[in-house]
């Protein structure tokens, strides 16, 4: 038998230990082993080597799995939590109620306040109908008359402006986050690290 052929049988021994040898080659190898003491020794040595490597695997700490799951970070692909509209509406309503309460505390302001709020709503509706110029004028006039009434009115309108801006900011940020998740999903599949 040539050295080249014998080397092939040695390679087969190696594959056989790993369970990676095709069946027909297994049969040929078995036939060769029956008459080759050298390969029998090689097989024995390989089996011991595999056993040695297997028996010196380190133990994994029992708490690793639990630790991973407890500290698992939030992934970008996870669906962002839906902001319930009820909460948003409640915040907006609270701002309006607070503003109205402050307004009604103003001395002698009740009739003028009711009229001012009514004008404000009317001009808002007109703006929605496309009469932007008139409505802005109307809003400006209403706000002006409202602010002139008292300092509490000024504070109330300030609180309302802040509240509305916060609401707008949250809505824009949520929209940006959704767009980012969609973009990542369409992105490349390269190694993340």
């Amino acid at each position: 038998m040539s050295d080249l052929e014998h080397t092939r049988y040695e390679e087969w021994l190696d594959l056989d230990q790993d369970g990676g040898l095709p069946e027909e080659d297994e049969t040929r190898l078995a036939a060769h082993l029956a008459e080759c003491p050298e390969c029998q020794r090689q097989r024995e040595g390989l089996a011991r080597l595999h056993h040695l490597m297997r028996s010196h695997r380190v133990d994994v700490r029992a708490e690793l799995c639990q630790s991973v799951l407890q500290e698992l970070p939030r992934a970008p692909w996870e669906t962002p939590q839906e902001q319930p509209w009820g909460r948003v509406a409640a915040i907006a309503s609270a701002v309006v109620i607070l503003a109205s309460a402050l307004v009604f505390w103003g001395e002698g302001a009740l009739p003028a306040t009711v009229s001012a709020v009514g004008d404000f709503l009317t001009t808002s509706i007109l703006a929605g109908a496309g009469l932007l110029a008139a409505s802005w004028h109307g809003v400006g006039a209403t706000v002006d008359s409202w602010l002139r009434l008292s300092i509490p009115n000024l504070l109330a309108s300030g609180a309302m402006v802040v509240g509305l801006n916060l609401l707008l900011f949250r809505l824009l940020r949520r929209r940006g986050r959704l767009a980012s998740v969609a973009g990542r999903r369409r992105g490349s599949r390269d190694d993340p690290s």
């Binding site: 040695e10 390679e11 190696d14 594959l15 790993d18 990676g20 040595g45 390989l46 011991r48 080597l49 595999h50 040695l52 490597m53 297997r54 028996s55 010196h56 695997r57 380190v58 133990d59 994994v60 700490r61 690793l64 799995c65 630790s67 991973v68 799951l69 500290e71 698992l72 970070p73 992934a75 970008p76 692909w77 996870e78 669906t79 990542r184 999903r185 992105g187 490349s188 599949r189 390269d190 190694d191 993340p192 690290s193």
Partner: protein
Amino acid sequence: MSQPTDEELVATILEGESHLYAEIVKRYQGRVVNYLYRLLHDLEEAHDLAQEVFFRVYRALDRFDADYKFSTWFFRVAQNAAIDQVRKRRLKLVSIHRRDGQEGGRGDWDFPTHEPGPYSRLRNQERGDAIQQAIDELPGEYRELIVLRHFGELSYEEIAQLKEMPLGTVKNKLFRGRQMLKGKLADFLVD
């Protein structure tokens, strides 16, 4: 009822069943800790880095391409994490420095053995040190494949995909790597 494949699990996790990631962790924790230990030589560090690998994999789960094996992708992340860690520590991958007695190191191993007594523990530790030294002394590409096969438990095909190497080359290098290991560990391979 057969177990779902890794790829099926990933698809289910991405649909919202994130609690199923526990199954991925259970399947891979042994393999990745052993793989990382062989590269970093520190058990504590291997555990910490394994945890980091699981975090990275989870964050990037939506980028996994189901045309490939999950194990290959997972170990690519682990491999890169190990390289980053080694760079941080400025530790040479090939090291013959023994670290006996270091806390969290080899002294804390619990070797499976059927022989009772301190002599057997000492013998076991000698074998463990010899295995690590023999692996460290292998040329780089042989060492990598040996560690991936014997400790990462990747199949030949998975290793070929991970290392972007022909299957025949993987088989050949593993064969030669084992021949070298047999020579270095000859004293421990006899009765």
